[in-house]
Symmetry: D2
Subunit: 476 residues, 4 copies
């Protein structure tokens, strides 16, 4: 029921993995840290739409505002005018149904023995059960079900000397994927797990520095991109300088490959690759792997478009906009009745008949999770007169769950776990179905094909995963 | 101030003409007229975002709900469950600031000597001042400032016999552009002015008929497109049949050319032309008229994209997505501070540096109203490293106001009135600027180049305009 | 279901007749007419809680804001700052479920042949069906189901000369109860039906005049009470003076007696009687008519309190607060489950056990409509240990419907229509039940016992009622 | 500015001390704990209007919902349907401006080494600074500025064995006033500080037990009052039985006397005294101490009414309702302009002229904090024609701050600190002013005059107060 509702609300986005967070931090001579964080989070909105929060330090105390909703809904002029200060951090969050509580929103702000601290976290820790047991045995209490609160308690217990030292000690304790921004009463600190699974980059302002999950959040406030934070690196930012602490000797970068396939904004650069360009290259590789005799290439907008253009480029088959997306659907959108659905009521996507009628169509999408949406789109196109539909997916089949901060749905829901490619093709009603090979995917980046986590396709997990498996693996 | 705010909220859409309305009507054996109208209006949302309304006839009485806001905001399940009936009409409305009052929202529902009537109107009457004087002299009163209320009073005064006759008599009185849907207690009627300036088409359901401003509203509820209502035609719909009354002997179709250039959805077909295809053709013609020696073609998303692709196609220069649009901006979005603006805060559009850096760029947009937004975009692209920027506009300069239902801003604000093409080029900071010729524009449709109103480019008004001029021309 | 919900929401107010409106008007040299009207309506809020509206004239045009909700909900600083002007009128409205639509909210603002007009009306016309037929036969249309719109159309059709003349002519056409304020572009006019059923009084400011349904609305803005508008009188107010037009030769004042019993605020004076004092006198008369051998007098708060004190005074039995009213119940209050109800969940009223335990209790209330609430209160008191409960009602049994602007529920719901006094006593579970006699009620005012409409008790209607009866008597 | 706004919004309540909390707990065989808590909190709404929260245990986990706002605003049917379970606790909170953050709302729910726990607290700890230092030195972190979070951390650190033991150990550590309800995964526990400053009572349901700050919260859900929790007592409730642990040998009850004077609902019984009866007795004592030669006794509604009636009773001077309170003022109420204020705009209270005109008036109120409101009321009455006004206050002058959970404003704002009684009389413009003596106040309860905290009048603090004084005494 819920599923159905969301399906109709947003059939495209529904059937995709879900990113869990975006983070942002700023330190400058201006007092406008709150407003800068607002714009930064706005640029990162695609990384999480359920809650948003900003904490600023105004010289005396840390101010915090966070709530469920989009950035533009959570904040208004009056709220932002209370978030003055020359330092600030922000967070946007997506979360699965069970945990979508305001209390789990970030940043977390807390007092500890040395003063006040704010923290925002993107990623997922994999040894939280052990960590939490140790902490509660020593008297810690937990008010949220987030792994971020565990991190906060670790920092508080390790902070006898400096915060930098507390972070280093905590990085020994914790396992998993994390890109974190921390604001103390006098500095802004960012750190990234030893494999650098989740992105984090540094930007420069005239009078300060910025940290952000993606470079598009630097662009929006006019900050210049400096570099990505290195795997295992701690960067300490003041208004004037960047200090770097490297915590791992032999770092092995494993950037999440799904950031490039689906999550990140096309105008972002992550770990030296521009997202749009990589997507285009995936489409070209797909054309090399699966040339199809077709009349037109279309995409499932918006995330499939870059790969579709790459496919068209390489294959020489013309690209057309074949599906028009209605962008006015809000959160409270109403479902059609059953009768209407049978009539083919189509809320979010409408085919342009002239583009597909009588044609052999290549339809490119970036990934398939459950397959239900793909099936509906194929049906729409057939009704609009398409003669053949070949679905081409610019990533391999997803067959393993992610433990590093992405909600790929539980394993039973993944259509590629239960069905062969041909079984999926039949399920969605397409005339052809091809997935990009894992090798082909990785070759879209570079020749070495290294430096990426592709565990959801291969099961080859770069960081130890919890023994309990994901189903038992939660804090609620 | 207000202007600035809107500019930053939505710099692209701000600097465009504004459509004023979309209309929808349905009659079927189902009781779900309200829900069907909801989805129909949702598909027409791009034609008006300030208010929305639906009226249904439930066998006894006409129920009405209308309010300021988007379709998804104005209605909820409970409200729709009160809008039962086998007939319904709906309306979405954009309006200029002065008139954006809930009381002006449509449909208008009223009782007259023969019972109840509901009416929704897209367009603009040009002889309202005379009409209103005559009516008030005879005791009519007016509660709104809309020309639709004048139409309603005329219908009430002409309805001694049938509603069809009342419409015919009223069409003798009124001048201007109008596509209207009317619901009486037993039929659904649509009619279009003798020049057919605003669109209106007919769709067929299994058990009834639909009227809509654009065909995309038929698609969303699974209705089959039958044909457009003819200029000057009155169509009377029951569950079983369409009756047509032709009111003009020598009709001269003059469909608003801006419907194709900017307003209508690309997946709509209007008066036998598919919007997307026409836009593509305009882009190709633009390439023929103004070939540019360039490295890449980009578009100002979303409305410039089809023409940009046509340009790329004809010129052989590759098309790339060079500007990424952030789609999360809501109504209450906050402005950056002055300092941030100087730093280059870019809320709605972000260039992909890799696409434009060091390149000679052709940037295609569909139209320019004031030029301020175009100037900002050119600046963004220059900052991202573009070597040259040639702006190519897929329509001629707008130099005359529209009296037929479009808000093109007052004449003083139109940049093309005050400046030459080269002056505009200088103002926006581009290296080149070319507008599609009027002849080229019309040739994108057919060889005869006839059947369109292009008065905003040519001043050649097909219907008499008010003597008072537009500035004095209002009912408030 | 709905009934039950409202019962639990507000069990006291639910079981009472409902007033339909309050009106307010102001003309002064200040530009703050909107704000003054806001405070005036706020003081009249008890006369209608479903919608509120204010119209002001700013020298050029009439501005209007109205919506569903309480005065404090409908207006905010920004809205009021748009309602500038030296003249304004306002309206609060209660309405029965079927008609609670925003479109029926008042004031009505309209343009007619002579300019703009705003009107607010308290009362009920009794010959609307005839009036509406005549008007629609002559081409008028109606957008609301209110009799006020009929009045507006009459005024527009009679306005060849002055508005005063149009009002006089309209007063010949209309029958019923009405207290009306009208604002033209240069004056404020008030008028009251020839029997003066609904109240309307005049106040003086330093630099202008005020009209209001009750004198408490004068007090709140510091206006001095001058006098009541006379039955059949038209008063025309400018900043400097009051002009009076008397339209009836032999006026027979028939002020609604329920204004004193229940509706009006105790601090108001209506037609020369202070409401609180009259209520106190009713209680004293009740004690004279029905002396009871009891230990304590309590009231059903708040409207029964004044009469209860009068009863205590006359009888010598001490008055105590025996029932505490919880004032935090909002509109969206949640119902207890069935099990909770059986346990005696009591939301709105709680007895003070020490006051009633083991006592013979006289409980005074002002009226009984359906009797269900009275029954619940008697049960509460019994559970709290009251030995005997004698309910004493400071008005006679309601057995006839009101056609003059009060919603007494339909006749079938009136418990006194179906049951004898003893039957009602049994139904509510009291040990005694006595109603004040009609003669006793009227003697609370003066010796002549004249000048009041008490048709709901006597069936003696001072103004012709519609032939169709109330059930067919509506405009929807 | 803020002050002024609140003053006009609610002039009566503004000038009173503020209670900080109300608590509620339930355990029964029914699954409706959430709904019962809702009604319980609703009855306790007068103890705190800024936030409300409920936590229930559904057999597996503790569910929590809390937010800023009134009980009726914070919860709706859907939210309550998620708060199933046979155990639940709830909290309403008032807080001073600086701390009115959603994050400080209660109940607090947390996980600790033994599972989950929820806690709601009324009162104020006085040694929080020491406690917090000790806790943070041992690694605890704090997310709120409430002393309740300190209590929670203490419980977590003391819980090696049972929760009862953890509470006992924590009661050794903490100083101050506290009435607390705690819900573990299998029991409901209540405890009260060794002096019993804040109230807490026990009620019995057919199938379970209830804890509440005041007995009116038992009445609303049909629970039978059993007894008050004793000072220093811990009560452990299951569905079947009450287990009691007494932690103090020589308890010295010191119930806050202001609970009786102003805070508590008149229908509540606290520590064996009915609030209404005590207030009445205070009024009688006031009449004995200060007989005045007057014509009428009126009260400042609502809290002064019971004492006014006592005064009238004892003195023989008749009691009348002289001031009518408008109950529709909402949170967003708009201020009158300066000019209107000078004209005497009176929003919340309106005198009945007939009651006071030409009279010598005794006006009884329960307390004076700043005196500004009293001054305004005296002025209103003078304008309404009162000949003399004697203000009689049913409590002594407040001259010491409260450290036990009441916000009496800071000491500088207390008018009785700066001015003599005659100075205050002059400030408020009354002809006479008398405060009840402390001895007289205490004699209203019993002859021994013992068992109450009256430190705000006497400075005689029964529990050690913080050395830092109140101004430095906060956690923010």
């Amino acid at each position: 029921m819920l599923e159905d509702k969301r399906l109709w609300e947003d059939p495209i986005d529904f059937d995709k993995p879900k990113e869990e967070c975006g983070v942002f931090g700023i330190i400058s001579k201006s007092e406008e840290a709150g407003k800068a964080a607002y714009f930064g989070l706005f640029a990162l909105q695609h990384r999480g739409q359920e809650s948003a929060g900003i904490a600023t330090f105004d010289g005396n105390t840390i101010k915090l505002h966070k709530d469920m909703g989009l950035v533009a809904e959570v904040f208004n002029e009056q709220i932002l005018s209370n978030l003055k200060g020359n330092m600030g951090i922000g967070h946007v969050r997506y979360s699965t149904t069970g945990s979508s509580l305001a209390i789990n929103a970030q940043p977390l702000v807390f007092r500890y023995s040395k003063g006040m601290l704010a923290l925002a976290h993107n990623g997922n820790l994999t040894n939280v059960i052990e960590l939490r047991k140790t902490l509660t045995d020593n008297g810690s209490i937990f008010q949220t079900s987030t792994d971020s609160e565990i991190l906060v308690n670790l920092l508080a217990r390790h902070c006898q000397n400096s915060m930098e030292e507390a972070i280093m000690k905590s990085m020994i304790d914790i396992k998993g994927a994390y890109s974190v921004v921390v604001m103390t009463e006098n500095k802004l600190i960012g750190f990234r797990d030893p494999n650098g699974v989740r992105p984090l980059c540094i930007g420069k302002l005239e009078d300060g520095y910025v940290l952000a999950s993606e470079s598009c959040a630097l662009d929006i406030i006019g900050a210049e991109f400096i570099r990505d934070v290195e795997p295992g690196e701690i960067v300490v930012l003041t208004v004037d300088e960047i200090t770097s602490i490297n915590t791992v000797a032999n770092k092995k970068k494993c950037t999440c490959v799904f950031e490039y396939i689906y999550f990140a904004r096309p105008d972002s650069n992550i770990d030296n690759y521009n997202v749009n360009f990589v997507r285009r290259a995936m489409g070209r590789q797909l054309a090399r792997e699966y040339p199809v005799d077709a009349d037109v290439v279309i995409s499932v907008p918006d995330s499939g478009t870059a790969a579709a253009k790459g496919y068209a480029e390489e294959s020489g088959i013309p690209f057309e906009e074949g599906l028009i997306k209605n962008r006015y659907i809000g959160r409270t959108f109403i479902q059609p009745t059953q009768k209407m659905r049978e009539q083919g009521v189509r809320l979010k996507l409408n085919p342009i008949r002239q583009v597909v009628e009588g044609k052999r169509v290549v339809m490119v999408d970036d990934s398939i999770v459950r397959g239900t949406t793909s099936g509906k789109i194929v049906q729409l196109l057939k009704e609009a007169g398409a003669k053949e539909i070949h679905m081409l997916v610019s990533s391999p089949p997803i067959i393993f769950p992610c433990y590093y901060g992405i909600d790929t749905s539980c394993r039973e829901e993944l259509i590629a776990v239960a069905k062969s490619v041909d079984g999926i093709r039949e399920f969605i009603g397409a005339d052809g179905l091809h997935y990009l090979s894992l090798e082909g995917l990785l070759s879209s980046f570079n020749e070495a094909k290294e430096g990426f986590c592709s565990a959801c396709f291969s099961g080859d997990y770069p960081i130890e995963i919890p023994r309990e498996g994901k189903d038992k693996y939660n804090l609620e």
